[in-house]
């Protein structure tokens, strides 16, 4: 049973990623801190009942996602998050000057579009594109099918694409390499 692995191991393995996920989902660091702590406290309560083959990482994302959705259910918080979006998007930029020069403006644009997405699309997009979760797990987290999860991500991509109309983006690898089925590294 999973509970035989100490809970500390789970915290050590996943805390940074869950925090980063929530940091991107929420408007302010204090919200991410609170939600990530709450995620792991809930996980601790349920840990002993977790099956031996459970995907712990996907399970933690589900808890974090549920907590986020509850958190944003309050209309007021959503408004605050929305207002914070333009301010926050610049903050989350740790890259060096070269990267900044190449991607800075585009990234800011993409980031702020992500922050303005409807919640389900935003959560699905971040889980898929930033954290590489599969659609099955994302669907489970969002209480929908894998197909709906995929549709949320595609809707998000469409909106990001529209948001970039009239903006130049840095060049990427050529068309042919896209068909190698590899995700860009």
């Amino acid at each position: 049973m999973m509970g035989s692995q100490p809970f500390e191991t789970l915290v050590g393995a996943h805390h940074a990623e869950i925090y980063r996920y929530l940091r991107r989902v929420t408007a302010r660091p204090v919200e991410a801190e609170d939600l990530s702590q709450e995620t792991f406290l809930r996980a601790y309560r349920a840990y002993r009942t977790l099956g031996p083959d459970a995907n712990v990482r996907a399970w933690l994302f589900t808890i974090a996602t549920n907590l986020s959705r509850n958190h944003f259910r309050s209309e007021k918080r959503r408004r605050v998050a929305h207002q914070a979006a333009s301010v926050e998007s610049r903050e989350a930029d740790p890259e060096g000057p070269e990267d900044e020069a190449l991607f800075g403006e585009a990234r800011t644009l993409v980031d702020s579009t992500i922050r303005k997405l409807p919640l389900k699309q935003r959560l699905a997009f971040i889980m898929r594109k930033i954290h590489d979760l599969d659609y099955e797990a994302i669907g489970h987290s969002l209480d929908c099918s894998a197909e709906s999860a995929r549709a949320h991500v595609f809707q998000a991509l469409r909106k990001i694409r529209l948001g970039l109309n009239g903006h130049e983006l840095p060049p990427t690898r050529d068309v042919d390499s896209a068909f190698s089925m590899e995700r860009p590294r």
């Binding site: 809970f7 805390h15 991410a32 601790y44 840095p170 068909f179 860009p184």
Partner: protein, 323 residues
Amino acid sequence: MTRKPRACVEIEHDLIAAASGDAQPSAARRVEHHIHACGACRGEFHRYREIEGVVHTLRRAPAASEGEAHARAGLESRLADLRSRLVSYRVFPSPLGHILIARSEHGVSLVEYLQGRSDVNSSRLGRMTGVELQEDGAEIETFYRELLEYLRGDRTRLEWPLDLRLARSDFHRAVLRATTAIPYGAVTSYAGIAAEIGRPSATRAVAQALRWNPLPIVVPCHRIIGTAGTLTGYSGDKLGLKQRLLAVEGIQAKGQRSDSRVVRDTLYHYDRNDQHEYCLPTCGDIARRPIGPVTLLATRELAASLGLVPCTSCRPDLHPLAA
């Protein structure tokens, strides 16, 4: 503005999928074929590829941060607090009425007879402050199954991890530990436990401590009786349960309520002043000596397992008591 050709509309989904590396091979081939011929869609495809590139840089942000370290430190402290407070429990039916079993991270912390009631709110656990209760399944179920086996007489040991934090004092804990050491099928007295923990004059305090035993059955306070063999008391007013638990272990008691006493002439006797010899109850005046210094034993096997040898005068090995 011209409308997008139908073929382009239809392929859009696959195009986004292909640009994200998310498409099935057949869809990817369709897209490759289409954008070879359609300049507009080729442009779109490039655009989505560029977005992938930008999103990829977002993966590294926000990097490991002070915020994360701060959140982690806060989590450690909240976890430590939760761990010390979290108690999971279940209420089960049993031949002795409803029984509540509760455990903390350290072990089983409470076994409570609920008798007619079955809800946690009216239990001792429900009235406790500073604990977070959680109804739990599988883990406590194991304890329950063992307890049922025990009550049926199919199990003689409950080797559970115990959490004695509900004990009220070090003295209380010492009494509970000494009581836990009394083996299945053996009986001693409150005075015997008092002597065992080095407080020979504290007989009444021992009795009081066991009256508040948070772990009846597993800390076998039913094996502790008065020096003259009376059952004395059990978990408030549940002498009947005490009699029943002793009967499971092969120790009979007779008489009604406060008069009920262990039938000594059906039990082997061991006086700790003797040299590791156990006796028949008819050996000299042993059956009149106080319980405490004398331990009563249900079987010769138990005596042997305690390292005792048959008395050379009364020869319990040659004249065993009727089972």
